[in-house]
Symmetry: C2
Subunit: 419 residues, 2 copies
């Protein structure tokens, strides 16, 4: 039943396809297994600036030509950088997959990193940093990350700091690419109306200039936790409370996903019910998980007005404490159903399938069949969720708060509530 | 080739399906042809508060029960309110479409609007208003709208003001529903793995309690334009410049879409190239169009640092002035390709198809075949785009700015650049 095929080219590049014959489009991208975590502190932001600069021209294509060629056929080209991955991807009508591949291969292997373009692009990223700083429910997550992993690459912001980005020399970008963009650390993934053999043939020609060097391993993650609070004149206090979570290879990975879902993954979740529905304290409250190769984060976000801060924080702590005691089989079953349905529904999108395939090959070195994911979700029961909740609470909490924080209780008080 | 069918029930409710036999899910929703525009000034926010309150319980289902039932099967239930529409929709695996329909019909016809629930939900909306106020690139659009349509329902915010929402009496919600939630102003739309005849049969039973009253027509839109500027301590000035655009029935509708796309719809667009790529002044810049039954808006959003404000605004004005002179057939062709590909790609999502079908029936009283949309896009050429640009510039501009505005030139100066 699987429509997935993977071929490894001689240089180590993995080419993976998930064929969907009934759709009109193809999503196609390069997933590179490096990101902010692979940066030295002195060049924080270089992974993201490289991502920007690969759109700025090759010997055969100017920056304008890159965007013009893909948009002439109505396609979209985009990219993102995370702590552990950088992705370059396109969505096009199926007859244009060759063009999309050609552009992606050109950008990734032949970008000139022109000095004038770099000077301008630094200022674009400085604007991006400004925009992020103006968005409290965005920037709060950078403070949260820094507090969870202080002094480590994993704790630094993807965009970098203004000071570093303004001065990043061209050579830092050249070095980063040379050290991190080798074929073994990269996956070319496609989903939609595409033939595997044809894509492999094209990729074999198009990606001949990749080095076969594997990227170096980043330093191990060392979760620490702690307290960040910043007063700002805002309507709401934007608040994140988090813990040492699980990595993508951890046997408890799905138990934590189920726990996150039943705590704050939907309208019927405990936090939504208690904090929004019963008490009316927030508009937004949700949990999130972030898994890395080693270690991960588990957190709750909530935004509330100054008058509600004093009530909000104890209630969240209380729900986190209680869930390890009184979670029911019904709640666990509902969270499993939500995760399974989400997995099945994601199969309808070429972009979701392309991204999942690329990420799975980077993380697990193989595509994970949907049946296997469903089986693992089904393997989570009340006991494993209780164990997951206890494991979380054993870690030192991470608190990040931005806005009217005068009525936010002390870190020690919060930690005591969770102990 | 069309998989779309529409049946009108005796009470006037239109039931429309777009069958996609190869997918696992169904998206299904009620699109109601009223929104903020249908409110009296004294109850601004009531349409949105009704949307919230329809999740808060019926005689047969508590608020928790509504969310539990849909999430027990891994489904998602959501809603939104705009100036002219209110939508309630679910996405479920195909075997659960009957349950989703039953819940939607119950919410829409039998919500009790319990007084205690209403008291709490008012505070939730007050938090939502606070969150929006804290997000500059969100709230700026409310100021833009108010400046374009001052003193009119179309200019008022969807969320309402804190003062009004805090006091909105239950009777205002009861009256709004009684006057605006009749069957003739509503469409039940579904896309995905669903049979039309079966849905019609279920809907005929489930929606028997709708009135057959058509909603009253709102007052005519009277675009005025003007100037709003608010100093706030932010990294960026968030800036919107707009004009009197076209309504959804206007023969120039697609010409304005093409103009918007080539000006600010992608990486190859004029504003992206000139403002971001050549000058590095912004991270975000884009155009947008908003069409109403009568009239519409056309605008540009950009966010930039204090030092760049003085350069940014004249460049945007210059591009808006130039496009009516020197736009090329190539640019028009590229914008057409982008719009057509976007239309085709949207067909792959059950939710996009469900929403489009619901909206088309509300607006045009019939489903619009994809071929017809493509033909209309193809009918746009350089001359129609030039005419569209001239028509825009003939209107009085609307300026909205929030952030470090000291170096923003006067409204008259901006207007003179565009004259």
């Amino acid at each position: 039943m699987s429509s997935i095929r993977v071929t490894t080219l001689p240089n180590g590049l993995r080419v993976a396809t998930d064929t969907m014959p009934d759709v009109q489009s193809v999503s196609l991208g390069c997933w590179v297994g490096v990101g902010t975590r692979n940066e030295a502190a002195s060049v924080n932001g270089v992974a993201h600036l490289v991502e920007h600069m690969l759109f700025k021209g090759t010997p055969g294509r100017s920056a304008f030509r890159i965007s013009e060629e893909i948009e002439n056929v109505g396609g979209q080209l985009n990219a993102y950088t995370t702590r552990e991955q950088t992705a370059y991807y396109a969505k096009v009508l199926h007859e244009d997959s060759g063009l999309a591949l050609d552009i992606l291969a050109d950008m990734i292997q032949h970008s000139t990193l022109d000095a004038d373009e770099l000077a301008r692009e630094r200022t674009v990223v400085l604007q991006e940093i400004g925009q992020s700083a103006d968005t409290p429910d965005d920037i709060i997550f950078d403070h949260f990350q820094a507090t969870a992993y202080p002094g480590q690459a994993l704790g630094r912001p993807v965009l970098g700091s203004s000071e570093i980005v303004a001065e990043l020399p061209r050579q830092a970008l050249v070095d980063y690419i040379a050290g991190h963009y080798g074929a073994p650390g990269m996956v070319l993934s496609a989903a939609g109306r595409i033939e595997h053999d044809r894509l492999v043939e094209m990729a074999d020609k198009a990606f001949g200039h990749l080095s076969s060097t594997a990227p170096p391993k980043p330093e191990a993650a060392q979760y620490q936790g702690g307290d960040y609070r910043e007063a700002r004149d805002l309507e709401q206090m934007h608040f994140v409370l988090g813990f040492d979570g699980v990595g993508v290879h951890d046997p408890d990975f799905y138990a934590h996903s189920v726990l996150s879902t039943l705590l704050g993954g939907g309208m019927s979740s405990r936090l939504f019910q208690e904090v929004r529905e019963k008490r009316g304290l927030v508009y937004s409250i949700y949990t999130f998980t972030g898994g890395y190769h080693d270690g991960g984060l588990f957190g709750v976000y909530a935004g509330t007005g100054e008058d509600e801060v004093a009530e909000l924080v104890p209630v969240i702590c209380d729900e986190l404490a209680k869930v390890g005691e009184d979670v029911t089989e019904d709640e666990v079953a509902r969270a499993r159903a939500q995760l399974k349905a989400g997995t099945l529904m994601a199969l309808e999108s070429t972009m979701s399938r392309c991204e999942q395939l690329g990420q799975q090959l980077l993380i697990y070195d193989r595509p994970i069949p949907v049946d296997e994911i469903v089986r693992k979700i089904d393997g989570v029961d009340r006991d494993t969720v209780v164990a997951a909740a206890k494991r979380l609470r054993a870690s030192r909490p991470t608190v990040a708060a931005l806005g009217p924080i005068d009525r936010l209780e002390s870190y020690d008080r919060i930690a005591a509530r969770l102990a």
